[in-house]
C-alpha cells in the first residue's frame, strides 16, 4: 500500500529513527488532556510508565512570558495573548505589597455592575 513504508524506507526507519530498548531512550508521549467541558474523542492509550517520557507543556512555563523566535510561521494572536497573560503572571509573582493590577482596575469598579 502506498501509505506505508517501502521495504527500503522501512530499513532506513528501523536503522535511524526507531527507538529500540537497547538505545536506553524513553518514548516521548504527549500527555492526554482531560477537559471537563469537552467530550474526549481520543481513546486513552495505555503506556508503560517507565518506558515513556511525558512531554511537558508546563516545565518551561516561566520562559513563556516572551515570544520565542519563529521560522516561517509567525506567532498567532492567541499565542501573543497567552504570552501577555504569562507576562502578567510573572509580574504579579514578583510584586510586594498591594497588587498593581487591582489598584489599576479598582477605580473602574461599580458594585451595581456586579449584581
Amino acid at each position: 500500500e502506498n501509505w506505508s513504508l517501502s521495504s527500503e524506507e522501512f530499513e532506513i526507519w528501523d536503522r535511524l529513527y526507531r527507538i529500540k530498548e537497547s538505545d536506553g531512550i524513553k518514548e516521548p508521549i504527549l500527555p492526554q488532556v482531560q477537559f471537563e467541558t469537552l467530550e474526549n474523542l481520543e481513546e486513552i492509550s495505555k503506556h508503560k510508565e517507565e518506558a515513556t517520557h511525558e512531554l511537558s507543556l508546563s516545565e518551561w512555563r516561566i520562559w513563556q512570558s516572551r515570544p520565542f523566535p519563529t521560522s516561517v510561521v509567525d506567532h498567532s494572536d492567541r499565542c501573543y495573548h497567552f504570552i501577555s497573560v504569562m507576562e502578567m503572571i510573572e509580574l504579579m509573582r514578583h510584586e510586594q505589597g498591594d497588587c498593581r493590577y487591582e489598584l489599576e482596575i479598582q477605580p473602574h469598579l461599580r458594585i451595581e455592575d456586579v449584581n
Partner: protein, 70 residues
C-alpha cells in the same frame, strides 16, 4: 499524500467519508510546514544555548507557543 489520507481516516466516524486529492495535498503541506517549524524553532533554541544537538528539552521549551500558532 496517501499517508496523510490514512491519517485523516483514523478520525472519521463514518467509513464512507472520503478526502479528495486537493484536501490531501493541502493537509500534507500543512503538516510538513508544522514539522519543519517545530524542528526549526527547537534548533534555534539549541543554537541559543550554544549547542549543536537538539534535544527534547529544546522542543519542550518552544512547544506551548508552537501549538498555539497552529
Amino acid at each position: 499524500q496517501e499517508t496523510v489520507d490514512r491519517l485523516l481516516r483514523l478520525h472519521f466516524r463514518d467509513g464512507r467519508t472520503r478526502v479528495n486529492g486537493d484536501a490531501q495535498l493541502l493537509m500534507a503541506e500543512m503538516l510538513k510546514v508544522f514539522v519543519r517549524e517545530a524542528a526549526a524553532r527547537a534548533a534555534r533554541q539549541a543554537h541559543a544555548e550554544d549547542l549543536e544537538k537538539v534535544d527534547v528539552e529544546h522542543v519542550e521549551k518552544v512547544l506551548p507557543q508552537l501549538l498555539l500558532d497552529f
